[in-house]
Amino acid sequence: MDAHETFEVLNERGLHARPATRVVQTASRFRSEVTLERDDQSANAKSVMGVLLLLCPKGSKVVVRAQGDDAAEAVAAIGQLFQSGFGESG
């Protein structure tokens, strides 16, 4: 199983520590391998350092890609976080 979708970073402060923490916590709930891709870089979505080092400011487009038996659910769950702006304003 392979699933992927592109999301935009909506919150003002970008994918900083707290959103990254949420992404990693969410990704870790799934068995699939999950990666985030931005431009030509990719990072393990279960590594907070990796996610942070993608350096995604507001407005950047991020591909969430998952491989495994629960890939679709993983992408959907992480996509949800992106779309809610990680629960942060603006």
Binding site: G14, H16, A17, R18, T21, S47, V48, L52, L53, L55
Partner: protein, 705 residues
């Protein structure tokens, strides 16, 4: 404790008061690590050491996380982030590979990896990511500490019962969370400035703090009895019984002094003859607004908006600024808030602007000149200010206006900003539009400017620099520029008269307004609005209450006719020194020394109020003067967050030799030099002087420069 060591550590007096208590040391200092190359046979062992240390660090962090109460939501999240970083494959893999490939010991491998990751974050040029460096550092240091066996729990709060004096390298939000349920008597930190988080928190809590006390975490052990003197910026480790008692007494006297000052807390400032004086606070961080209210300020006389622009690659958005301004305006309402548009350039840099490299930045693209070169950025700020005015009384003030053309150009931008808001259907309020008078040209043209500006605020710090043509940062000349010089008094007088003729307000928001000896002259010159550092409000208010305008005017008239700053100062001391003596000594009238010193004080170049108790009874008592200064303004925040204090210079001088002119000159020269050295790094600072007589401290005082 009778056999105490009385070791003293000097730092910056960040929050006044004196506390005696048991130390609790939060050891957050970076450990120095062994670095060695290892043989192949050691690789597995080193990797195992690393893994074990990670496990141990995780246990500790989890424990801390559980101890932090759930209501500290923000802080738990930070700790969660730390836990994730600790478990991060990237960190561990890189560290392990450093050990395996580069053949270095585990500590070195980890430190290297942490440094590499920090570089990556640094390169991002994005503030939020750069901030993460400290998180990674924190996590790395935890693990290193475990490996080196010298593990101190992150916050061993349970080891010490009852109220404590908190000693730390620096205090982070995570520490603050851990401390939520502890009684803290005082703070001491290795690093920091008077505007650092710790200092602001301490002032808000009204507990003493000494920051920038280098090596405090090394010198002090948990359980030690310590004295924190937040008036002098000195920490005494394991004081003997007598010293502890003296400190307790000093603390009590200070408390009594504060209570007596606070009795007028809720009242506006009035002179003895009943003239209302506007007394407001200068602030830089939104959090200081609460401190200003707490100290009885009538409002904010100067809000420096520059900090919003510092350390970032893009200027803040209108929305972001609006939120900050609104918060302050709402909090202060119905009190008035004067917002100053960004004063960048000069010695204050922001990466958000590309300011050309200038040979002479103080005379270059700064303040309003920069604003007019970047009109879009300027208007975004003006719009945010206009919108904030919906929530309370707001005035907008532009720094460094030196010509009428500039004033008109700035006002045109304000009109444009209003039109833009109207077009967008955004609500906004009415704001008076005023200028800072801080260049000689603005003083000379004050009559014209007064007809077109809605108010004046005199910035004495810059005015001094430009009026004397003296670089505040140049140690060889800085002491030559003094606020009490007739040059500055005449400038102020001229500006105040122009304002009066045009019926506009005129205030002073420079450091001079917070100087006790300047207050009577300023009132006498007709300046009835002062804006000072928040914590100085009570004492300035108390000083105002002792002054009657008739004698202040007589004093000012006479001072305007004098020729030198020394003459002016001697005159003020003669007329008002007695009235203000206890304030000048921060409530310490115990022992006549303080008063005698201050009243008798000759003025060494740039420093006033330092003198010896010459003549009289104890002609042979040896006195020592110790002068150090603390920098608290924001150029230091920008240039470096490091401690900014001078090593104390000490002299031993007998009162008989003090009277010898040559000896005096020598001492004055050293003091002047040390003061001007601190000016290199900061524009506002105070000099703390203490005078001790064999058996311990008998007096101390503080003077803002």
């Amino acid at each position: 404790m009778s056999g105490g060591s009385n070791r003293e550590i000097h730092g910056i007096a960040a929050s006044p008061g004196v506390a005696v208590g048991v130390a609790l040391v939060l050891d957050r200092r970076r450990v120095s690590i062994p670095r060695r190359h290892i043989g192949e046979e050691d690789v597995d062992r080193e990797i195992q050491r690393l893994r074990d240390a990670v496990v141990a660090a995780r246990v500790q962090l989890r424990e801390l996380r559980e101890r932090v109460s759930p209501e500290a939501g923000e802080h738990t999240l930070i700790l969660d982030a730390h836990l994730l970083m600790l478990d991060d494959a990237l960190l561990l893999e890189q560290a392990e590979s450093a050990i395996r490939v580069d053949r270095v010991n585990a500590e070195w491998g980890l430190r290297r990896t942490v440094e590499n990751i920090k570089v990556l974050f640094d390169r991002s040029g994005v503030d939020y990511f750069r901030e993460r460096r400290s998180d990674i550092d924190f996590v790395g240091e935890r693990v290193l500490r475990e490996m080196m066996g010298g593990s101190s729990p992150i916050a061993p709060l349970r080891e010490v019962e009852g109220p404590v004096i908190l000693v730390a390298h620096e205090l982070s939000p995570a520490d603050t969370a851990a401390l939520a349920h502890n009684d803290v008597l005082a703070f001491v930190t290795d690093v920091g400035s008077a505007t650092s988080h710790t200092a602001i928190m301490a002032r808000a809590l009204s507990i003493p703090a000494v920051v920038g006390a280098a090596d405090a975490t090394r010198e002090i052990a948990t359980g030690d009895l310590v004295v924190v003197n937040g008036l002098r910026g000195v920490v005494t480790v394991t004081p003997d019984a007598a010293a502890a008692q003296r400190a307790t007494d000093r603390g009590d006297r200070y408390q009594a002094f504060v209570r007596s000052l606070r009795s007028n807390h809720a009242d506006p400032a009035f002179t003895r003859c009943g003239q209302r004086v506007g007394l407001r606070a200068n602030i830089e961080l939104p959090a200081e607004a609460a401190v200003a209210i707490d100290h009885g300020a009538d409002g904010i006389g100067l809000y420096r908006t520059e900090f919003l622009y510092i350390d970032r690659s893009q200027p803040p958005t209108e929305e972001e600024q609006y939120e900050v301004f609104r918060r302050i305006v709402e909090m202060m309402a119905p009190r008035r808030v004067t917002l100053r548009t960004f004063d960048l350039g000069g010695d204050k840099f922001s990466t958000a602007f590309r300011i050309p490299k200038e040979l002479n930045p103080a005379l270059g693209v700064r303040a309003v000149r920069l604003a007019l070169r970047e009109p879009e950025v300027f208007r975004a700020q003006l719009r945010a200010m206009l919108r904030a005015a919906v929530w309370g009384e707001v005035r907008v003030m532009v720094p460094m206006v030196s010509t009428l053309t500039e004033l008109r150009a700035a006002r045109a931008q304000l009109d444009l900003a209003r039109a833009e808001l109207r077009a967008q259907g955004e609500a906004f309020g009415d704001v008076p539009f005023g200028i800072m008078v801080e260049t000689p040209s603005a003083v000379i043209l004050a009559d014209h400017l007064a007809r077109e500006a809605d108010f004046f605020s005199i910035g004495t710090n810059d005015l001094m620099q430009y009026a004397f043509a003296i670089d505040r940062g140049n140690e060889h000349v800085a002491h030559l520029a003094r606020a009490l010089d007739p040059v500055i008094l005449r400038c102020i007088s001229q500006v105040a008269r122009a304002a009066e003729a045009a019926k506009i307000d005129c205030s002073i928001c420079g450091a001079m307004a917070g100087e006790l000896l300047a207050v009577p002259i300023l009132l006498g010159l007709g300046v009835l609005e002062l804006s000072v550092e928040p914590t100085a409000v009570p004492e300035i208010k108390a000083s105002i209450a002792r002054i009657d305008l008739a004698s202040a005017r007589a004093l000012a008239d006479e001072a305007l006719g004098l020729g030198t700053a020394d003459e002016v100062e001697a005159l003020v001391r003669a007329r008002f020194g007695g009235l203000l003596a206890d304030l000048l000594a921060a409530g310490d009238v115990n022992g006549d020394d303080a008063e005698a010193l201050i009243l008798a004080a000759p003025s060494p170049g740039g420093v006033s109020g330092v003198g010896g108790g010459g003549g009289g009874g104890g002609a042979h008592s040896r006195m020592s003067l110790r002068i150090f200064s603390s920098a608290c303004s924001w150029s230091c925040r920008m240039r470096s967050r490091d401690r900014l204090y001078l090593s104390p210079i000490s002299f031993s001088v007998s009162s008989s030799s003090w009277s010898r002119p040559k000896r005096q000159r020598m001492i004055r020269a050293s003091i002047g030099e040390s003061v001007s050295r601190s000016r290199r790094s900061s524009s506002d600072h105070a000099v703390f002087a203490t005078c001790s007589k064999g058996d311990g401290v008998t007096s101390s005082w503080r003077k803002s420069m």
